[in-house]
């Protein structure tokens, strides 16, 4: 581990993860980041955890609408159509 040739300590790596994933690092910073990841199990695991977290976040919205809300909106729609059209 240590600085693994990249010059970036692990403590700072975790603060760069979002910029890395967002493509907001400069070309040079990106290379240093990737060089560190290649030589550091801890930071590699951290990045992988973040990616898994994002996948789970993307699956959070599998809720369905309540029948009450559905009914209320259906009625709102019918009122709107009766008035507006």
């Amino acid at each position: 581990m240590r600085l693994v040739g990249s010059g970036i300590p692990c403590r700072e790596m975790v603060e760069l993860v979002t910029d890395y994933l967002e493509g907001a690092l400069s070309w040079r910073e990106r290379r240093r980041f990737e060089r560190h990841i290649a030589g550091c199990d801890g930071c590699r695991a951290y990045l992988e955890q973040m990616r898994r977290t994002l996948r789970v976040l993307g699956r959070l919205d599998e809720e369905t609408i309540s029948p009450e809300a559905r009914d209320a909106l259906l009625h709102a729609f019918r009122d709107w159509r009766a008035e507006a059209r």
């Binding site: 300590p9 403590r11 975790v14 801890g42 789970v56 809300a69 709102a76």
Partner: protein, 210 residues
């Protein structure tokens, strides 16, 4: 509102078809949109207002805004973005009214909080207590009800704008530029808020899995 680059896309065609049907008073088209977006609208509204009940009301008002504004929809953004913009505007107004004592500027309360507990690093800044790989964690465990509740709870604890950013970006899948515009943030600010929010959620999940 800057016009997005205009390319005919399957999404734009599908949007145009929906808009035509709504304008024609097609109930099935409206209910299809409702089924698709209502849970997401309620989820997002909750990050602006103090309770689920008020969030439901704001979502309902949003649909009325959609119906009353549909004749003015010009396809400059996607229909989804347009609907969410209506929600954000209404939710902001409502949130300010409901909680005058909690200004939105309190969002930076936790500014500077590190992504990871500093105790997990040694004096040289390298991991002393490194994270363990989740490669062996089955996807099913991470998607199970319990893990999702952990994540929901972490999101609910975030300061409001962090919560809005992570909900729009990572739960609803909006792009950085759209979120920046919807919430009126700079690029850099959007990214910082996203970083803090993601770091907190990861930490919550790590604690749960350990």
């Amino acid at each position: 509102m800057r016009p997005l680059e205009h390319k005919p896309s399957p999404e734009a065609d599908a949007d145009a078809a929906f808009v035509e049907r709504l304008r024609a008073g097609d109930e099935a088209a409206f209910m299809e949109l409702v089924e698709r977006y209502q849970p997401a609208l309620v989820r997002l509204a909750q990050s602006f207002v103090p309770s689920r009940a008020v969030a439901e009301e704001v979502a309902q008002e949003t649909w009325l805004g959609v119906l009353n504004g549909i004749d003015r929809f010009e396809g400059r953004s996607s229909l989804k973005t347009w609907i969410f913009r209506i929600l954000v505007n209404r939710a902001k107004t409502r949130g300010e009214r409901e909680s005058r004592s909690v200004p939105f500027s309190s969002l930076e309360r936790e500014d500077g909080e590190p992504a990871v507990d500093p105790d997990r690093f040694g004096a040289d800044g390298a991991w002393s207590s490194p994270p363990r790989s989740w490669e062996g964690e089955p996807e099913a465990r991470l998607l199970a009800g319990e893990a999702r509740s952990v994540i929901d709870a972490e999101i609910a604890k975030l300061p409001p704008v962090q919560r809005q950013v992570i909900t729009l970006r990572d739960v609803e899948g909006f792009g950085a530029a759209e979120v920046r515009d919807l919430l009126d943030l700079t690029d850099g600010n959007q990214r910082v808020l996203l970083h803090r929010a993601r770091s907190r959620v990861r930490r919550g999940l790590e604690e749960y899995l350990s």
